[in-house]
C-alpha cells in the first residue's frame, strides 16, 4: 500500500542530462581541442576534490584543512610506484588511494579527539608533518622533488590505443587518457556520494548533522560514520592526487602538499557554490574556472579579486550561489528526499 520513492521530475531530468553529458564527455576527445580537454581535466579534478570535501564538511561536519595531505601522499605513492617499483602510472594510481587511506587512519585517530576549529587546525598540522616527512624521502628527490621519467610518461597504459583511435600525438593521447580517468573519477565520486546520501548512511549523516544526541538515541553510531566518511574521502582524495600528478609528471613537496591549491581553493569552490549540496560544488567549480580564465593574466589583481569575492559571497550569500538559486526556485537536481507515497499523504518536499 505504501511505497518509498526518491524520484522527482527534476531528478529524472538531471539523471538523463548527466547520462547524456557523460557519454558526450567520453566521446569529446574526438572533436575537442587539447586545450578544451586540459581545461576539462582541471575542472573535473577540482570538482572531484570539491565533492569529496563537501562530503566531509557539508555532510559529515568535518571541516578539514588538511586534505592536501591526502592529495600529496597519493601523488607521492603514485610516483613511488612508477619510479621505485617500475609500475605503469595507471596502475600506480590506485596505490595513491591506498596510501591516502593508510595515512587517514592515524590522522583520524588523532583529529577525532578534537572539535571544530581545533579539528581544522589539527588536520592542517598533520598535513604539514606529512609534507615535512615526505620532504625527507631522498629517493624521491626530498625537498627538490622529482619528475616522472620519460619512458614512464611515454608508455602510459592505453595511450597507444588512443593515439591509434584519434590519430593524435603522444602528449595529446596522454591528456585524453588522463581526462577519461578524471571523468570516470568524478562520475564515480559524485555518483558514489549521491548513492551514499540515498543509502542508509545518508540518513545517518543527516541525522548526526541535525542532532547528534537524538541520532545516538535511534541507534546511529555517529563515531563509526565519521570514520567511514573520513576514510572514504581520504582514499578518493589520494586517487585524485595521483591522477593530477600523473598528468603534471613533476612533483615536489611544496606542490603536492600545497594548502592553497588543494584545500583553500577547494573550500572556496564548495562554499561559493553552496555547501551541503551536490549542485553547489559543480556550480562553484565553474565559477572558479571562469574567474581564473578571465582574470589569471592580471597577476596579483586576480588573486585579490578572488579573495574579495570569497568575502563578498560569505557576506551576501552565506549559503552559496546554489543556495540562493534553490531558495528562490525550490529546485533540487539531485534529490535525496525519501518520499512516502500512498493514500492520505499530503505535503511536498
Amino acid at each position: 500500500m505504501y511505497r518509498l520513492t526518491t524520484r522527482t521530475r527534476a531528478g529524472t531530468a538531471t539523471a538523463i542530462a548527466v547520462l547524456v553529458l557523460v557519454i558526450a564527455g567520453m566521446a569529446l576527445p574526438a572533436f575537442a581541442s587539447r586545450g578544451v580537454i586540459q581545461d576539462l581535466f582541471f575542472i573535473l579534478t577540482m570538482l572531484t576534490l570539491a565533492q569529496i570535501w563537501n562530503l566531509l564538511a557539508g555532510y559529515g561536519g568535518l571541516v578539514s584543512v588538511g586534505q592536501q595531505a591526502f592529495v600529496g601522499i597519493g601523488a607521492y605513492a603514485m610516483f613511488a610506484g612508477v619510479i621505485l617499483l617500475g609500475w605503469n602510472p595507471v596502475w600506480a594510481i590506485p596505490l595513491g588511494g591506498l596510501a591516502a587511506l593508510l595515512l587517514a587512519i592515524p590522522t583520524a585517530y588523532f583529529a577525532f579527539r578534537l572539535q571544530g576549529a581545533y579539528f581544522a587546525i589539527g588536520t592542517w598540522v598533520i598535513a604539514e608533518v606529512t609534507r615535512l616527512l615526505v620532504a625527507q624521502w631522498k629517493t624521491l628527490g626530498g625537498g627538490t622533488g622529482t619528475s616522472l621519467p620519460r619512458e614512464a610518461t611515454s608508455n602510459i597504459l592505453g595511450t597507444d590505443l588512443i593515439r591509434a583511435l584519434f590519430s593524435v600525438r603522444e602528449a595529446a593521447a596522454r591528456d585524453i587518457l588522463a581526462y577519461w580517468l578524471a571523468l570516470v573519477l568524478v562520475v564515480a565520486v559524485t555518483g558514489g556520494i549521491y548513492w551514499l546520501l540515498r543509502s542508509r548512511l545518508g540518513l545517518a549523516l543527516s541525522a548526526v548533522r541535525d542532532n547528534v544526541e537524538a541520532a545516538r538515541s535511534v541507534g546511529v553510531d555517529a563515531g563509526r560514520i565519521k570514520w567511514a566518511v573520513f576514510l572514504i574521502a581520504a582514499a578518493a582524495t589520494g586517487l585524485t592526487g595521483a591522477l593530477i600528478f600523473m598528468q603534471t609528471a613533476r612533483i615536489s613537496p611544496d606542490a603536492a602538499f600545497a594548502v592553497t591549491d588543494w584545500t583553500a581553493y577547494v573550500i572556496f569552490i564548495v562554499v561559493i557554490g553552496g555547501i551541503g549540496t551536490i549542485e553547489g560544488p559543480i556550480l562553484g567549480v565553474l565559477v572558479f574556472f571562469v574567474l581564473r580564465s578571465a582574470l589569471a593574466d592580471y597577476g596579483s589583481w586576480y588573486l585579490m579579486t578572488l579573495g574579495l569575492i570569497a568575502i563578498a559571497v560569505m557576506l551576501f550569500a552565506p549559503k552559496g550561489l546554489w543556495g540562493l538559486i534553490s531558495a528562490r526556485s525550490g529546485l533540487h537536481l539531485f534529490p535525496v528526499r525519501r518520499k512516502l507515497v500512498g493514500l492520505k499523504i499530503e505535503g511536498g518536499i
Partner: protein, 238 residues
C-alpha cells in the same frame, strides 16, 4: 524483569541529580514517574538509554549489564525513548525521521521498513504530514514525532518524557489511547508526565522522584493519596 537499576547515582559536578536509585520493572509493565521540576526524571531516562553514563551503580536490561554500553547499542537491544524537548532531525521529513530510527534502531534495509513506518505514522496521526520537513512542525506534531520515532526503533521498553505536556484535552485523550494500545501489544512503558490524570489512566505503578531520590513507589491511588507527594509535586497547598 526487563529493566533493573541498582543503586544508580549520577552527579553533574557537585550536584547529585540521581541518588542511589534502585528500581526493577517487570516485562510488560507501565510505570509512571512523577516529581517536581529538576528532580532528575529526565536524567534517569538518560541513564537508562545511555545518553548519560552513571557514576555508580548498575543497570541491567533484559538480564544483561548495560551500565557502560553506549546509547546506540541499547537502542538496538530495544530501549526506545522520546525527548522532553522534542529533538527532531529538523532537516529530514517526518517519514525520514522514522525511517532513520527504523533502519538503525532495528537494523534493516530501508525498503523493508516502509510499511512499519507508515503504520506508526498512522497510529500517531502523522501520516498526513509524512513528507513535511520536521523543522516546520508545530509543537503538537513534534511531540507526536517524538513518540513515533521512538516506536520506529522497535522498542521492548519505551521511555516517554512529558509527551502530553501542553496538549489540549482532546489531543491528550487521543494520546492516551495510543499509548494504551502500544502497551496492550506488550511493550513495557516508563512514562514521565506532569499531566497526572493522563498518566494515572495508563500506568500500573507510580514512582515519585525528588532531589534524585525515590521517595515513593506503588499503585497510583496510594501514591496520589499521600499528602507528601501532592505537596511536593503540585506545589499547591492542599
Amino acid at each position: 524483569m526487563i529493566l533493573r537499576l541498582e543503586n544508580v547515582s549520577k552527579s553533574f559536578g557537585a550536584l547529585k541529580v540521581t541518588d542511589a536509585v534502585t528500581v526493577s520493572v517487570p516485562r510488560g509493565e507501565a510505570l509512571g514517574i512523577i516529581g517536581p521540576n529538576g528532580a532528575g526524571k529526565s536524567t534517569l531516562f538518560n541513564l537508562i538509554t545511555g545518553n548519560v553514563l552513571a557514576n555508580e551503580g548498575r543497570i541491567e536490561f533484559l538480564g544483561r549489564d548495560v551500565t557502560r554500553a553506549p546509547a546506540m547499542e541499547r537502542v538496538r537491544m530495544g530501549v526506545g525513548r522520546s525527548f522532553q524537548i522534542p529533538q527532531p532531525f529538523e532537516g529530514l521529513t517526518v517519514f525520514e525521521n522514522l525511517l532513520t530510527a527504523a533502519a538503525f534502531g532495528r537494523g534493516g534495509r530501508e525498503a523493508d521498513m516502509v510499511d512499519a513506518c507508515a503504520r506508526i505514522l498512522e497510529e500517531t496521526e502523522l501520516l498526513k504530514k509524512a513528507n513535511v520537513v520536521a523543522g516546520s512542525l508545530s509543537l503538537l506534531d513534534r511531540k507526536r514525532l517524538e513518540l513515533a520515532r521512538a516506536l520506529a526503533t522497535g522498542p521492548e521498553l519505551l521511555l516517554l518524557d512529558e509527551i502530553a505536556g501542553g496538549l489540549t484535552e482532546g489531543e491528550c485523550k487521543a494520546l492516551v489511547e495510543t499509548i494504551r494500545a502500544i502497551h496492550a501489544r506488550g511493550t513495557t512503558i516508563i512514562w514521565i508526565e506532569h499531566v497526572l490524570h493522563a498518566l494515572t489512566s495508563v500506568v500500573e505503578r507510580l514512582l515519585v522522584l525528588d532531589f534524585g531520590r525515590v521517595i515513593g513507589i506503588g499503585a497510583p491511588d496510594e501514591i496520589m493519596a499521600s499528602k507528601e507527594v501532592r505537596e511536593i509535586y503540585l506545589g499547591l497547598e492542599v
